[in-house]
């Protein structure tokens, strides 16, 4: 980094307040050409706020934005584009009802001489961008019909297509598998070598370690470590983020017994589960590993009665379990913490109590009348036990941080006293502190003799927190091995082995 030339973009003392919070407090940050800059911190520390300011979505309350040393204003998202900033936002910003090609160029569609949209060029250019990213998606496909991971790739393609000097990625990998992440990193390295400045946000500190050149760490809206003040390794970063020493990131307890609680034999569904079989032991954490779209979520859905079984059987404690609806599974003691808590998990019109008791209304009522006292007591107990923010019962849950929200979804199944819990990506998008809280919760549950199926695309987490791991390929379980027998590389390789198949299948 040459000292003489000013950084491409620089924030000086940027402040931004929302009602009740100072989300950015005198933040300073320098973004350099040809450098990948990691922006890290706990949930709610102000990362996305900073990014929205830089992308013109909102104006700072005070402070200066410098472009090559000159103060400028970024008045709106279009202005940010014009100034060469491309952003992949944390929230999905694709339009499901439009084609992939149109999404990629939304906002600056190629036009003919007559100012009319040039659809041929839209599709050709989109195809070129997708090819550059080594992604196999058809530009004329309706975006809403793609899988979550594919949609995320389209988001990234939007930013890539702009050929911007500065590219910002706010948790781009939350919905991606190891393989996609690796391909994304390849692309980012290539862009870096071409001189692009990159700002990168992720809660997956392992991947941060792999790719970023420098980090800035925020806590409660302030910069606690500026670029260059911290070594780029996970424990150093965590210390800076959380403000205290965390000795163990994966506080795994081994509580597995040999008693089989649940046995799935030859499960099949219309949604892509084929002949999947596995056992789950009492007190065990069984990890499901596999690439994106391998069918892990679908196996969970099959067990929980969301998708009907077209074949196979499930036995619970030796007795056959017939699940036709979700309620059958719940009554049998199963629980599902879905992979997308915002869309499938939380009731934003309820406070903590309504969310926590939602799956237990039957048990909580006599002759259809709710026992509100029991509800309040149970809620308060769980709020205390799980160290959920005491705010949780004061307001509706949309005010809570991601970590607290996730704990509430889990608390729902503690309240219902589920015996078998399926956690689908339970730590997605939550910070390291909250992650550790979830891990401790997992220990608490297994210690109490409950069994857990853990689905996670974070291989380190999966390896560390599982007792055994079942590798999922094409909706079936290719093998089940003790977690200690697997390494990160094994999992990547196991996943990679099926990539060629997956690619051909997607094309059909």
């Amino acid at each position: 980094m040459s000292q003489g030339t000013p950084p491409l973009w620089e924030f000086v003392d940027i402040c931004k307040a929302y009602p009740g919070v100072l989300a950015n407090d005198k933040v300073c940050i320098k973004l350099l050409d040809g450098s990948i800059h990691g922006l890290l911190g706990e949930n709610g520390c102000g990362k996305s706020t900073l990014i929205k300011t830089l992308s013109g979505v909102q104006q700072p309350d005070s402070g200066q934005i410098l472009y090559k040393g000159k103060a400028v204003q970024i008045s709106d998202p279009q202005d940010a584009r014009d100034k060469g900033i491309a952003t992949v936002f944390q929230e999905f910003s694709i339009v499901p009802t439009l084609s992939v090609g149109e999404n990629i160029f939304l906002g600056n569609m190629p036009k003919t001489r007559f100012g009319v949209i040039d659809w041929k060029k839209v599709n050709e250019s989109a195809a070129a961008v997708l090819a550059e990213m080594d992604v196999d998606i058809h530009p004329e496909a309706m975006t809403g019909t793609l899988s979550v991971g594919e949609q995320q790739l389209v988001e990234i393609a939007k930013a890539v297509a702009m050929k911007a000097r500065m590219i910002i990625l706010d948790e781009p990998t939350a919905a991606l598998g190891e393989d996609e992440i690796e391909r994304l990193h390849q692309l980012l390295r290539k862009m870096r070598s071409q001189g692009t400045a990159i700002l990168y946000v992720s809660h997956r500190l392992d991947e941060v370690e792999r790719i970023v050149d420098e980090v800035t760490i925020l806590r409660s809206g302030r910069v606690v470590r500026a670029s260059g003040e911290t070594e780029i390794n996970v424990s150093q970063i965590v210390n800076a983020m959380v403000g205290e020493d965390i000795s163990e990131h994966y506080p795994k307890e081994h509580n597995a017994t040999s008693e089989v609680v649940l046995r799935a034999s030859h499960l099949s569904t219309k949604n892509g589960v084929h002949d999947a079989s596995f056992d789950l032991h009492k007190g065990e954490v069984l990890g499901l590993g596999g690439v994106l779209g391998s069918g892990r979520t679908e196996i969970a859905r099959a067990l929980f009665g969301v998708d009907a079984l077209t074949g196979g059987t499930v036995t619970l404690n030796g007795a056959p379990l017939k699940v036709r609806h979700e309620i059958d599974a719940i009554e049998a003691g199963l629980a599902l913490v879905p992979e997308n808590r915002k869309f499938d998990g939380l009731f934003f019109n309820f406070r903590a109590s309504g969310n926590i008791t939602a799956a237990s209304l039957g048990g909580l009522s006599k002759l259809g009348i709710l026992d509100l006292k029991a509800e309040d007591e149970g809620t308060l107990r769980l709020i205390e036990e799980l160290e959920i923010s005491p705010q949780a019962e004061q307001k509706t849950v949309n005010f809570l941080s991601g970590g607290n929200q996730q704990k509430i979804v889990i608390a729902r199944w503690l309240f219902s006293d589920a015996k078998v819990l399926i956690f689908d990506e339970p730590t997605q998008g939550i910070d390291i502190g909250a992650k550790i809280a979830v891990y401790k919760l997992i220990n608490l549950l297994t210690r109490a003799g409950k069994s857990i199926i853990l689905i996670s695309s974070d291989h380190d987490e999966l390896l560390a927190m599982s007792d055994r791991i079942a590798v999922v390929q094409h909706g079936s379980i290719s093998r089940t091995v003790p977690a200690s027998d697997l390494t990160h590389d094994d999992l990547v390789r196991a996943s990679a082995a099926q990539l060629t198949h997956a690619a051909t299948e997607e094309r059909q």
Binding site: P19, E326, D344, F347, L361, G362
Partner: protein, 339 residues
Amino acid sequence: MKRVFDSQLIGPFAAMVIVALVVAATTDRFLNPGNLSNLSLQVSIVALIAIGSTIVIIAAGIDLSAGSMVALLTMILAQFLKMAGIPLLFAVPLILVVGGLLGLVLGMITAYGRIPSFITTLAALIAFRGLALTFNNGSPIFSLDPALEPLFYGKVAGIPMPFFYLVFFYALAAFTMNFTKLGREIYAVGGNPAAAVLTGINVRKVQTLTFVIAGFMTAVGAVLMSARLNSGSPNYGQTLELQAIAAAVVGGASLAGGRGNILATLMGAMTIVIVQNGLNLNAAPSSVQNIVLGAIILLAVGIDMWRAEISSILGRLFGRSDQSVKTASPAKPALSKDA
């Protein structure tokens, strides 16, 4: 009790009181006991129907069919009484069942047929009136039964009967929505149907039930309409569905689902009826009535939407600290899809 009389009631209650004060200031006839009992008569039909509309709205649906269903049910009741000779004591419960069944059909088409309720009930709005016209050559049927009228005009201890129906059904509905499993499930389904499915709630059944309730309450309204006018007619109930929705909305129910309070709907219905009564007492032409009603709907929702801004402005005016304002305003996601 805290649950039933929660903060959602304050706004609609304040609106009602303000409107009543304004009306009382314009005419001294407003507060006379005769007029007040008049009000309870006039609000009764729309307020009873609005119970159903509110519950459907809380479950993120909408019911446009109520007005036409009233017409259809008054005609069926008339047929029962005049043609089939069914005694009143059986005919009335029968009509309530028919209303519930019509609601069941609409609910099943919506929930199991996956057709947006706006469409289902729009189709019903049109078709029910057509069905009503198939009876008696489309002519009204008058003088149904001498025992029918007292259902509406009768008094007990000097208090008009409809007052008791209001108390009964509103108490029942408020209880159901706040203290029963079904009520909680309705809020859950309206708040997030996907999450409701995954917590084992039978979403389609719950959605269907909201329409059954709406059909039943519409039937209650239809019986009162028949009693009020001692007749059945395919023309009755026009725009009643809009008035009922307006009552729910003025009472703060959100068309996005998950939010709404039964008692606030009663306040909303009262507000609307007080305004109409006030305008009638002052012999305002129907043009003014329409304009004022439109403005009230807009204002009520506007005040609800802009609560944060308004209290921040008030706060600034009266020099309160910014802090107190924050807790008062439930922030909405900035980019919610509400257009």
